[in-house]
């Protein structure tokens, strides 16, 4: 290691600071790093303290970076050490145990403390904040010994603490100064619905009460309010807010307002000293939520690593309550004033509420209660100051005419014979599934999968398994647990994508830690999926994770059952040359390829290449990868077209080759096939392709959602266009919209049915702006791709590790 690296000192071992360090490491920032933390633990996920309180997690479970991580990254960690002063003159960090550590750059990330109300009695035994692991331990201990508790503060933290204590068996009253819960995030309607729901769940409320004193001798016995009334309580949690921890900054002579004042690059008033997280004040705002911390950390990490970045401009704050069964969301402005236009819908029977605020027709805020499926979408709309349109209205208010589609709830399973195979891949009969439900009391597809193996391979039988479940369970099916993307998480694809965007999560590891995965490193289902979503969301910065790729994609070739591989070179539009054919023949002979086969998409399969020969075959072919293994564009099948065919009206070979060159290499939710035909005779079979194109005399017809595979489906007519430019723009928009909304492994045939054809048409053909923006986004993503075969040939280490076998 070079001795001349600059010294970076991080003060505060929490999520914001360590998140920044992680980004710096990723960006290759060259620093010798030292971290100081006051708490005795390594870095943990503070937003999950509610789960520790609830008992569903231990402290070990919520640790983000264990001691090994610091070691692996050569970071010196001092836990249980408090920094007392930054000495600017001689650039030293001084600590309470006498250390003096030199720095070139320092980051203050001291977070915040619970704000303890300055009322008489607030220092008595049995009064705690809700902020760190020590508070959490105190609450767990209290629940074992005492029965009545009061939580002062009806905000996010207070409500989570109250619900936790109720779960621990305590009699809990939430004391709130105002008449509305979460008044800084919710309007009156949502607030009263929330209070009703929590009351149902066993939380009591004392609203409009100002606490003036805590009574008792040594230990607290109750609260006295300003109106003279009293509430007995053997244990009190103060959750009235947080106070940026600015003592160190103050003592070191750094400018402090409410928080440590920073500029858009997180620079404090002291040279070379930066600050991120809850302790900072940026443009007059102190944040107490996780998303802004990550956004700040990202800007600072880039700045410190010498990467060009626009400054931090503040965050649109969105809130979600972490209490099971209580879905609350708010973003941006929520209190209506005369200058707002208000769209709202309240359903007292389903207990849902939705409100969207517009200012000059721009979406500036939203509140959701009971059903938060639109939360990610709304957060994005608020963040981008989107103008309201009919399409958006239909989308977010759920008034669109083409709802789900796809899910046919036919009870045909009733008539199905017991011995009929439901899951063809694993040979599972209807009876086996029914037995699993009745004998083991299973209620979810996942449980049935774990027991019988049904749905675990291609997944094509999942709807039938669901129907059988529904048929056997009747009404109780509705109560069955929510299904996540795999058994590692209850979160759906949309929720995961929303959380990644909202919290600025960057790696599968981070996603799984922050979103509380049951199996810390995921499984063969979710790891590839999350890796795809990250790449889709951050096309320019996401570092593809080889270890999260299915074997074929990791090796960039198809594995066969005997462990040999199939190599398919690209042939754009299915057209090759005698020279290329000769080279393919020579290489096939030299490496003893078992079979040369024409694929279903008009390419050449070289089957049976030995693993260690694969890179040599690529090298000697010297052709681009044909992506026969990938979840991306496989082939564009073409007919002969106007170049040679007497019926051809359009140049299908030329157009096919052009489209293949344009879209090759880009990751998609599943494999993707196209076809271009020069005339309506449709010789290249457009009807079974994800995008099928048919030329006619005046232009092109576009079909989408076709499939000839597991679930055959004839493509739907999507639109007609006149020019080649329009054709390319439509293809770009369709592919990008599929990339952004498709579930991982979901083919367009399923996607079209789930989203509804009309919906996709409205999004893409209904708005020129939308279509152009989608096309621009795919062009941006396409600018980042490169040929994996070439890349692997240039990367000797990975090539050796993946392909070579050693003998010892």
């Amino acid at each position: 290691m070079a001795a001349e690296r600059e010294k970076l000192v991080l003060i505060g071992n929490g999520m914001a600071g360590v998140g920044t360090i992680e980004q710096i490491l990723k960006l290759g920032g060259a620093y010798d790093i030292t971290v100081f933390g006051s708490e005795p633990h390594p870095n943990y996920n503070r937003i999950m303290l509610s789960y520790v309180l609830e008992g569903s997690k231990t402290i070990e479970d919520i640790i983000l970076n264990d001691l090994g991580w610091y070691e692996d990254n050569h970071i010196t960690l001092h836990t249980g050490t408090t920094v007392t002063r930054i000495a600017e003159q001689n650039k030293l960090i001084l600590t309470d145990n006498g250390l003096a550590v030199p720095y070139d750059k320092a980051i203050i990330s001291t977070g915040s403390n619970s704000f303890i109300l300055p009322v008489p009695g607030s220092t008595k035994d049995g009064v705690v904040g809700f902020r760190d692991i020590a508070d959490c331990d105190a609450m767990l201990a209290a629940a074992k010994q005492y029965r009545t508790a009061a939580v002062i503060g009806g905000g996010l933290l207070g409500l989570e603490a109250a619900k936790g204590l109720v779960n621990l068996g305590m009699d809990v009253t939430v004391v709130h100064l105002l008449e509305d819960l979460m008044e800084r995030q919710l309007d009156r309607t949502a607030s009263s619905m929330l209070q009703a729901e929590l009351t149902r769940q066993g939380v009591k409320f004392a609203m409009g009460k100002q606490t003036v004193e805590l009574t008792g001798e040594e230990r607290v016995t109750g609260l006295r309010f300003s109106d003279g009334s009293e509430l007995p309580a053997e244990f009190v949690v103060m959750a009235v807010g947080i106070k940026p921890n600015v003592q160190l900054a103050k003592d070191s002579g750094i400018t402090v307002n409410r928080g440590i004042v920073v500029d858009d690059y997180m620079q404090t008033s002291m040279t070379d000293v930066y600050s991120v997280g809850e302790c900072t004040e940026h443009r007059g705002t102190c944040y107490g939520l996780v998303a802004p911390l990550f956004e700040q950390g990202m800007v600072l990490a880039k700045h410190l690593s010498g990467v060009q970045t626009p400054g931090y401009e503040g965050s649109v704050v969105a809130t979600k309550l972490k209490i099971s069964g209580v879905d609350v969301f708010s973003a941006g402005e929520f209190t209506e004033t005369p200058e707002h236009t208000v769209i709202s819908a309240k359903d007292e029977w389903k207990r849902t509420y939705k409100k969207i605020l517009l200012k000059d027709n721009v979406i500036v805020g939203a509140v959701l209660f009971g059903d938060v499926t639109e939360s990610a979408n709304l957060q994005k709309l608020v963040k981008n100051s989107t103008e309201m349109t009919n399409e958006i209205y239909d989308e977010v208010m759920g008034t669109s005419c083409c709802g789900g589609g796809g899910a046919k709830k036919g009870m045909s399973v009733e008539a199905m014979a017991d011995e009929e195979i439901v899951c063809g891949c694993n040979g599972v009969t209807k009876k086996a599934i029914v037995d699993a439900v009745t004998e083991n009391g299973f209620t979810t597809v996942d449980e049935i999968k774990a027991c019988t193996g049904a749905t675990r391979s291609c997944g094509g039988c999942k709807p039938v398994v669901e129907q059988i479940l529904q048929f056997v369970l009747g009404d109780s099916f509705q109560q069955s647990a929510k299904q996540g993307i795999c058994s590692c998480t209850p979160l759906s694809r949309d929720e995961i994508v929303a959380e990644i965007t909202a919290k600025g999560l960057k790696t599968t590891k981070e996603v799984m830690h922050v979103l509380d995965w049951k199996q810390a490193e995921g499984c063969s289902k979710c790891r590839p999926a999350v890796n795809y979503y990250l790449g889709m969301i951050y096309p320019d910065t996401h570092e593809d994770e080889k270890e999260s790729r299915f074997v074929n994609e990791r090796m960039s070739a198809n594995i066969q059952k005997d462990g040999t591989y199939t190599v398919i070179p690209r042939m754009y539009g299915g057209v090759t040359t005698p020279e290329d054919l000769k080279r393919i023949a020579d290489v096939s002979l030299k490496y003893d390829v078992k079979v040369v086969k024409v694929t279903g998409g008009q390419r050449l399969d070289l089957i049976g290449v030995k693993k260690e020969d694969v890179p040599k075959v690529w090298e000697e072919l010297d052709m681009p990868s044909g992506y026969g293994y990938a979840k991306s564009l496989r082939t564009v099948k073409t007919c002969v077209g106007s170049q040679f065919c007497r019926f051809g009206t359009q140049d299908s070979m030329g157009m096919g080759a052009m489209l293949e060159r344009k879209y090759e290499r880009l990751d998609m939710p599943a494999k993707f096939k196209m076809a271009v035909n020069g005339c309506p005779r449709n010789c290249a079979e457009s009807c079974t392709k994800d995008i099928g194109i048919v030329g006619n005399d005046g232009g092109w017809e576009v079909f989408i959602g076709g499939n000839g595979g597991i679930k055959p489906r004839i493509a739907d007519a999507f639109c007609k266009v006149k020019t080649d430019e329009e054709l390319v723009e439509v293809c770009s928009a369709v592919i990008q919209y599929y990339r952004e909304t498709g579930n991982y492994l979901e083919r367009t045939s399923e996607w079209v049915e789930r989203m509804g054809l009309e919906h996709i048409q409205t999004v893409i053909m209904g708005s020129d702006d939308n279509r152009k923006e989608l096309a621009a986004r795919i062009d941006f993503a396409l600018a980042q791709v490169s040929d994996p075969w070439k890349k692997m040939l240039d990367d000797k280490n990975t090539r050796t590790a993946l392909f070579e076998q050693t003998q010892v």
Partner: protein, 113 residues
């Protein structure tokens, strides 16, 4: 003498990428060596216990579990035990890191194969 176990040095620690398996032939035995994200090493015979067989080295690694690349069976790398709903047993051998190199011990019967 013939009865004793045989220790093989299969490579340096840094020859193995975390969570990506590597094939090493030790004597006559084809091994798949795995390095977990926590830095632990496991050695398993590079042959799936699935009736259709196939290699294991290219599977997805999560903690100390391996997902079979061809059949998606979940295998405990510590014991070789296949997890429910499937059943089976892969052959695992003791692996250890010693002074920056990875060593695998094969029982005498296997080493002489």
């Amino acid at each position: 003498m013939e009865r004793s176990n045989r220790e093989y040095t299969v490579g340096a620690v840094e020859d193995f990428m975390p969570q990506i398996g590597r094939v090493v032939n030790a004597g006559e035995v084809e091994l798949a060596i795995f390095r977990t994200s926590a830095g632990a090493f496991y050695a398993i015979k590079n042959h799936s216990p699935h009736p259709k067989g196939g290699p294991l080295a290219e599977g997805i690694v999560s903690g100390y579990y391996l997902y079979d690349p061809l059949h998606d069976w979940k295998i405990d790398l510590r014991t070789g035990e296949v997890q429910a709903p499937d059943q089976g047993q892969a052959e695992v051998y003791p692996a250890a890191v010693d002074g920056g190199v990875v060593k695998v011990t094969l029982p005498a019967a296997v080493a002489r194969l």
